[in-house]
Symmetry: C2
Subunit: 152 residues, 2 copies
DNA sequence: CGGAATTTAAAGCCTCGGCTACACTTTTGT
DNA sequence: ACAAAAGTGTAGCCGAGGCTTTAAATTCCG
C-alpha cells in the first residue's frame, strides 16, 4: 500500500496510477488463491493435502510449495504441523470456494462469447484473479440471459 | 522455464501444472507491457517520455521506473540516454500498439457483456495481460456479431 | 554566469516466488 | 527392528519489482 507521492502533473487521466496499483494488488493475492484452491481440491480428493502433491500440481518444487503454505499460514488461511498435511482454515476454505466459483463463471463466460473451452480453461487461470466483484456479477447476469435467451 | 521434474502421480488432471506455469509466464510480461504502452502514450502526448512522468503515471517511485526502463532496454524494447527521454524501439512500439489494441478489445468485450465502463477499465488493466491470441480473436468476433446483431 | 530546483542515477534493503542442495523425519519393506 | 525410500523442512541464491536515501547532472532563472 502507501501510495507514493503522486503529483499527477503529467496526468491527462487523473487516476491512472490507481489502476495499476490495483492490478498489482490483485496479483499479490493470485498465488495464494491458487494454492488455497489446490489444497482444497487435494483435501477433497485424497483426504489431505501433502506438500509434494501441492508442489506437483502447481508445477513447482517442494520448497516453493512450502513457502507458499507458510504464507497461507501467516495470512490465517491454512495451518499445518510439521510432516503432517496442510489444511485450510475456515477463511481458507471460504476463499477456495469463492475462487472456484469465480473460476467457473469466468470459464463459462469465455465459452459463452465463443472462446474454445481448452483455451478458456487456460486463460481463465490467469484472468480470474483480476475479475472484480462487479464484473463477476455482470458475467453471471450475462450467462443467465444467454442461457434463457438462446434457449430459443 | 525449465519445468521442474513433475511425476504427476498426484494428478487426476494430467497437465494441471502447465496451466499455472503459463499464467506465471504471462505475468512476467505484464509489467513490461504496461510500461511500453505508457511510454508510447507519453511520447505521443508530450513529445517524449521522461522517467518522472512514467513513474507518476504508473504510480511508482522514480527509481522503480528507472529499473523498469532498464529492463525494457535489456529486452530491446526501448532505449534512452542519460537525462534524455526514453524512446521505444520498433519492437517496443509494436508491442505497445498490440497492447493498446488488446486493451481496447478487452474493455469493449467487458462492456458488451454488461460490465459498467469504469469497472471495465479498471479490471481490463489486470485482465488484458492474460488474454491469449485465440481468446482475443474470439472477443473480436463476438463484438462484431453483437454490433451487427443487436443493431436490430 | 551561477545558484536553486528539478530530474536522473546509484546504492542498499524488502518481499515474493522461483530454484538447488542438504539435513532431517516418517514410512515402508524386508 | 532397521535400513532404504519417500516426504518435509531449512538455508541460501537469484531475479523482479517495490521503496528510501543519497549523490550527481541538467535545466531554469535571476
Amino acid at each position: 500500500m502507501t501510495e507514493p507521492t503522486q503529483t499527477d502533473d503529467a496526468g491527462t487521466t487523473p487516476a491512472t496510477s490507481a489502476r495499476f496499483s490495483q492490478a498489482r494488488a490483485a496479483q499479490s493475492m493470485a498465488v495464494l488463491e491458487d494454492y488455497a484452491e489446490m489444497i482444497d481440491d487435494l483435501t477433497a480428493e485424497m483426504g489431505e493435502a501433502r506438500i509434494t502433491d501441492i508442489a506437483a500440481r502447481m508445477g513447482v518444487t517442494h520448497p516453493t510449495a512450502t513457502k507458499a503454505v507458510a504464507r497461507l499460514k501467516r495470512e490465517g488461511l491454512a495451518n499445518s504441523r510439521p510432516y503432517r498435511g496442510v489444511f485450510l482454515t475456515e477463511a481458507g476454505a471460504a476463499l477456495a470456494a469463492r475462487v472456484r466459483a469465480r473460476h467457473r463463471v469466468v470459464v463459462d463466460l469465455l465459452v459463452a462469447v465463443g472462446v474454445p473451452s481448452e483455451t478458456a480453461e487456460l486463460d481463465a487461470e490467469g484472468l480470474e484473479h483480476h475479475v472484480s466483484e462487479v464484473t463477476l456479477r455482470a458475467f453471471e447476469a450475462f450467462l443467465d440471459e444467454t442461457r434463457s435467451g438462446s434457449a430459443a
